[in-house]
Amino acid sequence: MINRNLVKALRYRYVLLAVGLILLAGGLVLLPKQEKHKGITSAELLSNAISPERYMSTDEIAHKIVNQDPSILLIDVRDSLNYQKYSLPNALNIPLPKLLDDNSMTFLNQDQYEVVFFSNDNFDADKAWIISNRLGFKNIHVLKGGLNSWFKTIINPTMPEENMPANAFEQYRFRKAASMYFGVVYPESVIQQSTEQKKVPKKVITVKKKKKSTPEGGC
């Protein structure tokens, strides 16, 4: 009697097992959608975002531009109107709303260049950095203080006071030279240049005419 019932139940064993597996597979549908959780974890993002490592100083950027460092890719995240008015030399314009466009991705999702975001201060550039960091893009930096700091330190550097350390004067000399590179003209440098130009005597280079060589051989 027992054997008959058991045999009857065992008849449906494969069906039951198949149903069980299908139900478990259905559980995959309940798993959270990947799209929303794309990128590094929130804890990682917070720890990266709080660290000041992403910032590059205006002096560092000026140094790289002056030396025509080919590894740097400057990205202005302001709107095109502000970009056209003034931007850093050779900077690209990717306005913040277009940050995730396919065209922008080619510049951001790579590891050959050091990308530096900048805006007027670093509020908008930080936003761009946070989104890029969540997506796991490498070598992304932010210009500390943005163009406002660029103006204060590079374009119009303030002269250190007399009681300041020697490296402050050295830094000022570099910044002043950099500001001249970026187009700022100092009256004293113009006077110096003109006086220097007068002093230098013209070099006279005499060019000796080559004598025509007589043809050799022949009859």
Binding site: K36, S42, L45, A49, L96, F123, D126, K152, V184, P187
Partner: protein, 203 residues
């Protein structure tokens, strides 16, 4: 008899595989602090200019100020009724509980630090986790005679017209301004002219 043994083995294998899946499901731990929005939505939210508010908003007593500065700064002085939540610790269980409570009570919280730039990082992380009841206080905090001084600041405002300044400097020096774009010098490739061989011999 052989067939019966074969079917037994198949059944045992199937039962074991189901058990394995059940154990895996039971031991699965849901990761904490998941994002609830995509990067695209997060960017749209960050583009909203209303994310930063003036200090006047604190006149509304339902607003909860959250101080994200260091413990030391907080103890020196803070905005009235502010909750301390150090920037690096905003995702701790305790702080998440507080944020959940504020959200459940339909209250708005404003994050503030020494300046708005210091607040953008924890703010951006929290909004991506679904805390859309947060704002940034557009203030700069400093101390004067051990008293907290809070003043409004403008964000992303250009302090000066740089091209005008450069042109002005050139005008002062009475010379034409140089453009700020420096083109890379053209590479000149010199090609050596091959010397004509002297005619040798011949009639």
């Amino acid at each position: 008899m052989k067939e019966l043994e074969k079917t037994k083995r198949i059944s045992i294998a199937a039962v074991f595989s189901i058990l394995l899946v059940i154990i895996a499901l039971l031991s699965y731990k849901k990761p904490k602090n998941l994002y609830t929005i995509t990067t695209k939505t997060a960017l749209e939210m960050l583009l909203d200019k209303n994310i930063a508010v003036n200090v006047d908003i604190l006149n509304d007593t339902t607003i909860v100020p959250i101080d994200i500065r260091s413990q030391y700064d907080y103890e020196k002085g803070y905005i009235q009724n502010a909750i301390h939540m150090e920037a690096a610790e905003v995702l701790s269980n305790e702080n998440i509980e507080i944020l959940e409570k504020i959200k459940a009570n339909n209250k708005m919280a404003v994050l503030y630090g020494n300046n708005p730039e210091g607040v953008i990082a924890p703010y951006a992380v929290l909004i991506q986790m679904g805390y859309n009841n947060l704002k940034i206080l557009k203030v700069e905090n400093s101390y004067h005679q051990n008293q907290l001084i809070t003043k409004n600041v403008d964000l992303e405002k250009s302090i000066i017209d740089i091209p005008k300044f450069i042109k002005g400097s050139a005008k002062n020096a009475n010379i034409k301004p140089k453009s700020n774009t420096h083109k890379a010098p053209k590479k000149v490739i010199t090609i050596k002219k091959s010397k004509k061989n002297k005619p040798e011999g011949g009639c």
